[in-house]
C-alpha cells in the first residue's frame, strides 16, 4: 500500500475516533454549566450533585478528547507535509490561535473546576465551567475556520507556489464557516444532550435514583430538542451553500449522474452503479431536492457527468468524481439519524409537558437509551460526507490529496503508526466505555467514597 492511502486511513480513523469525544465534551460542558448555574442560583444541593455526577463522565471523556487531539495537530506535519507547506500560511494561523485562545482557557479552567470545589468561591467555580464550555466552542470555531478554508478557500493569494493569507476577515466570514459552525456546534450540543437523556432513561427504566435522573433527563431533553432542530435548519443552509460552492459534492451525495430535471426530486434510495455511472431502483420524493438546494420547489441541479466536464476545463484532466456510494449513504444516514433525534426530542418534551415523566413509558425510554448513539452516528456520517465528498481535493480546487502527502515518509513508517495508533485507540475506547458503565452503575450517590478507601484510610475527610 502506498503512503497516500495509508495516511488517509490513519487520518480518517484517528479523526473519526477523536470526533466521538469532542462533541460530547462541547455538549456536556454546556449541560453541566446549566446544572451548576441552577445550583448557584437556587442553592439546591441536588443540582450540585448533578454537575458532579455528569462531570465525572465529562472528565473521562474530556481526557480522551484532549490526548487524541494532540495527534490531530501533529499529523498534518507528519503525514501531510506538502499540504502543510502549501497552506501553512493560512491553515496554521487558526490552529495556533485555537491553542492560544481556546486550549489554554479550557485546560486551565478545567483544572480549577476539578480541583477547586473547596478552594474557590461558588461563583468563580461556576465561572470556570462556563469558561470551559466557552473554550470548547471557541476551539470548534477556529478548527472549523481551518476546515472551511479546505472546503471553500477564501482570503488568500497564490505566491511562490504557496497559498498566502491576505485577508483574515474573509476567512472569519467565510460563507462555509457561517453554515458549518452552527451546524457542527449545535450537533455537539445535541450529542451531549442525548447522552444525558440516554443514560437517564436507562436509570429511569431501572428505577434507580428516579428524581435525580428525571431532572437530568428534563434539562438535557430541552437542550436536545432545541439543538437538534437547530442542526436541521443550519444543515439546510449548509446544503444550499454546497450547491453553490461544491456542486460535485452535492451531486455525489445525491448520486446524481445526469441533470436532475426541474423540479428536482430527492432520491431516498438507489442502487448505485459506479462503473456504468447509472442508478437503478431509485425511490424518489418529487420536488424535495429543489427545495433542499434552493428553498423553493423548482430549479434543477447539475449532475456529476456534466460537472466532471466543467472541472476538467477548469482544473485539467483528471477524475473529479468522489466516492459516490460513500457520500450518498453517509448523507442519508446523517439525515435519518437527525430526523429520529428531532422526533425523540419532541416526544420527550410532550411527555414532560403532560407531566407524564413520573411514569416513564417503557418502550420510549428504551428508544431514548439507544438514542444516545444517534448523534455520534450522525456526526460521523456528516464528517465522512463532507471530507470524502471533497475528494480528490484536500483544498478544493487548489491541491489534491495525492499531492498533499509527505514525500519523505515510507509506507513502512506509516503502517507502523497506523497500527500503533489504532491499537492504542481501541484500548482507550474500550476502557472509556468500561469506565462510563462503572460510573453510571454506581450512580450519583456512590461518588462520595470514590477512590476505594481500602487503600487510603484518610480520604473520607475530603
Amino acid at each position: 500500500m502506498d503512503t497516500v492511502l495509508l495516511s488517509r486511513i490513519q487520518f480518517a480513523s484517528t479523526t473519526i475516533f477523536h470526533y466521538f469525544f469532542v462533541p460530547v465534551s462541547i455538549g456536556l460542558a454546556l449541560i453541566i454549566a446549566i446544572m451548576e448555574t441552577m445550583y448557584v442560583r437556587k442553592g439546591n444541593e441536588e443540582y450540585k450533585r448533578m454537575a458532579q455526577f455528569w462531570g465525572k463522565l465529562f472528565l473521562i471523556n474530556f481526557a480522551v478528547g484532549v490526548v487524541t487531539g494532540i495527534l490531530q495537530e501533529f499529523q498534518f506535519g507528519m503525514n501531510w507535509s506538502d499540504y502543510s507547506r502549501f497552506v501553512g500560511d493560512v491553515f496554521g494561523a487558526p490552529l495556533a490561535i485555537e491553542a492560544l485562545l481556546a486550549f489554554f482557557l479550557e485546560s486551565t479552567f478545567i483544572g480549577i473546576w476539578i480541583f477547586g470545589w473547596d478552594k474557590v468561591s461558588k461563583r468563580i467555580h461556576l465561572l470556570s465551567i462556563w469558561l470551559v464550555a466557552f473554550g470548547t466552542m471557541l476551539s470548534a470555531f477556529w478548527i472549523l475556520l481551518a476546515n472551511s478554508f479546505m472546503q471553500h478557500p477564501v482570503g488568500f493569494a497564490i505566491n511562490n507556489g504557496r497559498a498566502e493569507m491576505n485577508d483574515i476577515f474573509a476567512l472569519i466570514t467565510n460563507g462555509q464557516l457561517l453554515v458549518e459552525f452552527p451546524h457542527t456546534v449545535l450537533a455537539a450540543y445535541a450529542t451531549g444532550a442525548f447522552l444525558v437523556t440516554g443514560i437517564s432513561a436507562y436509570k429511569l427504566l431501572k428505577k434507580q435514583d428516579v428524581a435525580f435522573f428525571r431532572k437530568s433527563f428534563e434539562i438535557a431533553a430541552i437542550v436536545g430538542v432545541i439543538s437538534s432542530f437547530g442542526v436541521a435548519v443550519a444543515g439546510h443552509a449548509q446544503a444550499q451553500y454546497l450547491v453553490e460552492t461544491q456542486p460535485m459534492k452535492m451531486a455525489a451525495s445525491e448520486a446524481l449522474w445526469g441533470e436532475s430535471g426541474d423540479p428536482a426530486p430527492w432520491t431516498v434510495f438507489a442502487n448505485i452503479d459506479v462503473k456504468n455511472q447509472t442508478n437503478s431502483n431509485e425511490v424518489q420524493v418529487p420536488y424535495l431536492l429543489s427545495f433542499l438546494s434552493y428553498s423553493k420547489f423548482s430549479g434543477d441541479v447539475k449532475g456529476m457527468l456534466e460537472l466532471q466536464k466543467e472541472y476538467e476545463v477548469a482544473y485539467g484532466p483528471g477524475d473529479y468524481i468522489p466516492p459516490v456510494k460513500t457520500t450518498f449513504w453517509s448523507f442519508r444516514i446523517m439525515v435519518a439519524a437527525g430526523t429520529l433525534m428531532m422526533l425523540f426530542g419532541v416526544y420527550a418534551i410532550y411527555l414532560m409537558w403532560r407531566k407524564k415523566m413520573d411514569r416513564p413509558n417503557t418502550w420510549f425510554m428504551r428508544f431514548m437509551f439507544w438514542g444516545l448513539l444517534l448523534p455520534p452516528i450522525a456526526n460521523t456520517a456528516g464528517w465522512i460526507m463532507t471530507e470524502i465528498g471533497r475528494q480528490p481535493w484536500t483544498v478544493f480546487g487548489l491541491m489534491t490529496t495525492e499531492d498533499s502527502v509527505s514525500p519523505n515518509i515510507t509506507s513502512g513508517q506509516v503502517l507502523f503508526s497506523v497500527i500503533s495508533f489504532t491499537a492504542i485507540y481501541a484500548i482507550l475506547g474500550a476502557v472509556l466505555v468500561g469506565l462510563f458503565v462503572k460510573v453510571i452503575k454506581k450512580g450519583p450517590y456512590a461518588m462520595d467514597n470514590e477512590h476505594g478507601e481500602s487503600h487510603d484510610p484518610y480520604n473520607k475527610e475530603g
Binding site: I60, F74, S84, G92, A99, L101, F103, F109, F115, E461
Partner: protein
Amino acid sequence: MSLNELWFLLIAVLFVGFFFLEGFDFGVGMETQILAKNDTERRILINSIGPFWDANEVWLITGAGAMFAAFPHWYATLFSGFYIPFVFALLALIARGVAFEFRGKRDSKAWQKTWDVCIFFGSFLPPFLLAVVFASFIKGLPIDKDMQMYAGFFDIVNAYTVVAGITVVLLCLVHGLMFTTLRTLGDLQERARKLAQKLLIPLAALLVAFVVMTYTMTDIFDKRGTLLWIVVVLAVAAYLLAGYFMTKKKDGYAFGMTGAVMALSVASIFIGLFPRVMISSLDQAFNLTITNAASGQYSLKVMTIVALTLLPFVLGYQIWSYFIFHKRVHEKEHLEY
C-alpha cells in the same frame, strides 16, 4: 526586530516555557516510580500536578501550532522528518494523559499498576525524545534542496543526541523533585529534596559533557560564541545556586534555579540555531532559515496582533491558577486522582 525574528523568539519562548512547566510535571510523573513508597504517596504526587499538567502541555501544542503558522516549512520538515520519534512521543503523551484520569477510577491493584507504568513512561519518553530532536537540530540533519529531510536512524540517535536526551530527562526529574518540595509535606518533601541533591553531581557531569560535545560537534559556538558563553556562565551560576538553596532548604528559590538551568539549556539551542531553524548536514545552502521557511508578512502580522493581545490574559489566568493551588497536598485532604 522583524516579524520573522519576533516569531522565532516567540516560538523559542513557548518551548522554553514548555520545558520549564511541563518539565516539572514530567519529573513528578517519573517520581511516582522513583520516590513514592506507597499508593498514597503516588496519589499525592499526581494530585500535586493535577490542576496544572494539562495547561502545561498546551505550551507544546501552542509551540507546534506557532511553528505551523509562522514557519510552515520548519513544521513540515520537522514533523515528517522525525516521523517515528513523534509516533513514540505521541503514544507516550496519549497514554500518560488518560492515565492520570483513569488510574483512580477502579479499585484494582493491577489496574492502577498498568496506568502507573503509563505515567512513568509517558513522563520519561517525551522529554527524552524531544531533547533528542532538539539536539539533532543543531548537529545538522540530511535536508535536501527541496527542504525534505531523509534521516536514517543514526542521524537521529547518536552519542550527542542521547546525551542531550538523558540530560534533559534528569533535569526534568530534579526540577520535578523541587516542585514536590513545594507542594508536599513531611517525609515525602524531605526525601524529594535529598534525592534532588544526590542527583546534582551526575547531572552536572552530563551537562558538562553536553556542553563539551556541543562545542566540538556543532558550529553554534562559532556562530554565537559570546552569547552562548554568557548562557553557559549563567547556567553554571544557576546550577550552583540551586545546590546552595537546596542545602538551605529554600525550596522556592531552588525550584526557580533548576527551572532556570532548564530554560537556559533550551534557550541555548534556539540561540545557536538563529537565524537558521533547521541545519542541513548536506549543504549550508539547504538550511531552513527564519526567512525561507516563513509565512507571508500579512500572516505574521495577523498572528502578532492576536498573540500580543491574548498573551497577557493567558499568562494572567495561568499564574492565577498556580496561586489558587499554592497550598500543599497532603494525605488528609480529598485527593481527586
